[in-house]
Symmetry: D2
Subunit: 309 residues, 4 copies
């Protein structure tokens, strides 16, 4: 029977050598974290693998906008499946708005009066969201009407990415680098409200079936598919279910604070997805228990450092 | 300063009198649970209040199908916003399939070979899901093609509810009793896969904008809006964001195991939603920490028992 | 293969019939809750079973003081293993002090200045804790010095229970009804600080080995042992490890929000304890995921109502 | 109002520069993690600060034995307050036994028959624990009987540390380097069972009051006190409450998966401890949500790397 190792830390160790030490533990949190770093490194190295990331939770407003964007820029990620909120917050920053450091102990009624909306301990100005409306309308107006009558979210976001001239923007960078951004629940967001009000005056049908067709097509483009799941929700489910046609994904890591025993999909272990045909084998699968906004940047650096070797 | 009371339990006490004892504690879990029972009772009693429930997590397959259906049947709930999975599982049972008692320690590769798919410790036969395809196609075929070319999920589910002849079905009961079921991410489910394959051969565009328009309209139908949030995800967000136009919901209870400090919307306290204009005031709001599949049936009985008085 | 049932709720149903409906679900949260109610009812009914409850977390200050006390009074519980905090708060109330309704969003620096100490959203006056010192000293002074030189916590708390004339007190009621209260970490509490300062001036050695001897003896007194675990920590571990000599407990329920995958003992499933000889078989074991301050009062009522039949 | 920054990751970045990037985010998980790294670095650098670490959960068996030991060896930690389990597992390894890589999906009844005991996904042989008895008896026999009649756990563990000739052992290293190890609940562990059986035949009273006196004394030895809280339980509480006499600790970081809203002390934010006088000010306090076995090694490396500058 294999034995548990102990992590040796050193002043001069790199992130990747620390992750290797953790993988050698083989059990509990360190074993899971180390395995995730190794799977992620393998994914990044694999040219025959289409890499998806799913984003749920406040990743873009919460400090990971450049992490995701830079990985897209480096072609380490080919497809992004995201909540509407993360798209909204990327666009807000692309339009020059900022996220504000706040506190979770705020008086929300007063914040509302001050024109601030809260995500745990960060704020966004309502005025920014109003400004987003004008910009969204203007960008929509530049899309030919026939296209607008039956458009997938991935096509819409590519159009927005083209029009947003901000090299730090996920939408813009994805458009430039040929990565595809899917937002299957795009209407369920502040951006979505603007799309909805636009649609009441102008032609606009965002067709989720077009998204799903494109997503399924992408799963066939290369020999392997790897998935990085940050948070749960519809983005996690969408990216996994689209892979059932090809017999499941080849590798996946998931970082989440959601727990399995409630039975919800967000907290479900990746092994469960094997029984649904969404994942191929129990090899190259790992769930890291924790906050993706903390752990993913560390794992990403560990994976990139593996590439140097 | 008000003081903490202690719960007195008695052999012959009703669920509602136990909940009242808990409300009197005023702090911690009992205070939150008791307050939720009171808010729910007030909602059920209020004829001038449109009541929504949002469903995320395995509520329908996990034993709460009749709880939700009976509340719809009793007109205690007017609108349901749900994940596609809960719709899928309601339809499976309406078509005569059953959910199977399993174990969370299963070998998922073997389950896959046996044709069983797993949700924590319950199984569903893949054959049931294949059968669902035929039935779905047949039901879609009976919807006039022009209607199918631009249909909201709520309209589609009303058609399905009409065709499913099962009085224990949520879809059927909602259709009979005039309640509306929204499934904004309907494609992100096993039912959704069948809709997608159908759409590749036949006319079908499910338009989320139609759903949102209907949902917003419903928030204006009566003087007040009350929301019961079971689990998080898109159903929670959708039902709250649709209420921003009317200035926010008047009352809401939420039951979830998700935590706030990750910053994700699923675990966010309802107070945070005030700063977004999704909720009106901090009165009549409460988050109960726990498993909705355990706590909601108890809260529902407590609320119904209040009505007798 | 057994099938999942659905809960039927009715206006006039008792807590125990609701729990029976939940047990019939057999899976997920309802299955676990229903099973816990049944195991608890079986324990309460069983005259040949020594019943222990372990208390960690703010059960006594948080509204469950009478629930625990009344079960001890009814001889449904024979042994209590608790944190020092729960003993401290029972004594505070027995001495006429009260717990105050507060808020979790308090400014703790200001609370400190106001002489209030906080447990989530409840407060206790520092003055109450200072008063406890005098009373503790007085009660210790009445214990003969030779006894004080080598005393178990269970003996000390029996002395306190005798001297505290309050029929709502857990310590007092336990002493009257012959139940035994163990507090293996008694020094790790506000009461413990008073014991420590006393010990610097007067003879006092509280010997944890005496506690453990008595606890092990109690596990042999009747044919069976049943354990109710509310929260985790040392109380959970102590009550289980004391049962290893007799081959493990016969039945146990545990209610906790702690999760298993961190590897800590507090969140560990009861099945794991079988491998340590702390539990006999996987029958009659269940972990209910949730807040014990919410779920235990409900389970206790359900169990008591079963006894009527 | 300060603005949220975004983390920039680079291939060649050190752990500490990644942590600095995270601190600059200022909100959510990255802000908390980065702040923890900075506070830890400040603690390590501060010669006028007595540094304590509290250990609860499977840190020693789960791969962090060398991390803790090496920090003690480097004099970055002066006091350790731990559960009995972590002491037990350190001694097992010092005596040549190993921890085995297992699986959390094990059949515990079969493991019991195979002589293996489980901690989530790692096993320990029952035979190792039996061997520990002999060694413990032998080591106790070498302690003069008068000393054994009234000994603190810290003195007992110093004796054990002296006798265990293993430079990778926490107990041994602490003894060599003059760090003090406290185990206030030492009887509540497998080692504790051996102490208890020994005490039935030989003189042995382990007096928790002696521990507490020593712990309080240590809080006065230098100008400042810093605390690193890994997991919760009695170790967390003990180290904080001992600091009330000096007006509270000056700096503290806590890493835990326990949540605050249950009201239990393990998940309580450090700010709450201000209202109890256990912590001085809200500056230099942070709770990192996550698994300490994953996050602490990373934070420790980040802190050590700050020292180079």
């Amino acid at each position: 029977m294999p034995l548990v190792s102990h992590i040796k830390i050193k002043k001069r160790m790199s992130v990747s050598s620390l992750a290797e030490q953790m993988e050698a533990v083989k059990v509990l949190g360190p074993g899971r974290f180390g395995k995730a770093a190794r799977i992620l490194g393998d994914m990044f190295r694999d040219k025959n693998c289409t890499k998806f990331v799913s984003l749920a939770g406040p990743l873009i407003p919460g400090g990971l906008r450049s992490v995701i964007t830079d990985l897209v820029d480096g072609k380490y990620i080919n497809g992004v499946v995201t909540t509407g909120a993360n798209v909204t917050h990327d666009m807000l920053e692309a339009l020059g708005h900022k996220h504000i450091v706040g506190t979770e102990a705020a008086d929300d009624t007063r914040l509302r009066q001050q024109g601030l909306s809260r995500i745990y301990d960060l704020y966004v100005a309502q005025k920014s969201i109003e400004d987003l409306e004008k910009s969204t309308y203007r960008m929509l107006g530049r899309i030919p009407e026939p296209k607008r009558r039956d458009i997938g979210s991935y096509e819409l976001l590519r159009e927005f990415g083209k029009q947003l001239q901000d090299s730090t923007s996920l939408l813009h960078t994805a458009q430039v680098r040929g990565a595809t951004i899917f937002c299957p629940g795009i209407f369920d967001s502040m951006l979505g409200l603007h799309l909805w009000t636009y649609s009441r005056l102008h032609a606009l049908i965002v067709n989720p079936l077009k998204d799903f067709s494109r997503l399924v097509d992408m799963t066939y483009e290369r020999k392997r598919v790897g998935v990085i799941i940050l948070g749960g929700g519809m983005p996690k489910h969408q990216v996994l279910i689209a892979n059932t046609y090809r017999g499941g994904v080849d590798a996946a890591i998931q970082i989440t604070l959601d727990r399995a025993d409630g039975g919800g999909f967000s907290g479900a272990p990746l092994e469960e997805a094997i029984s649904w045909g969404k994942v191929k084998t129990p090899r190259n699968l790992v769930t890291v228990v924790g906050d993706a906004t903390v752990l993913f940047p560390i794992l990403a650096v560990a994976a990139l450092q593996q590439l140097r070797n």
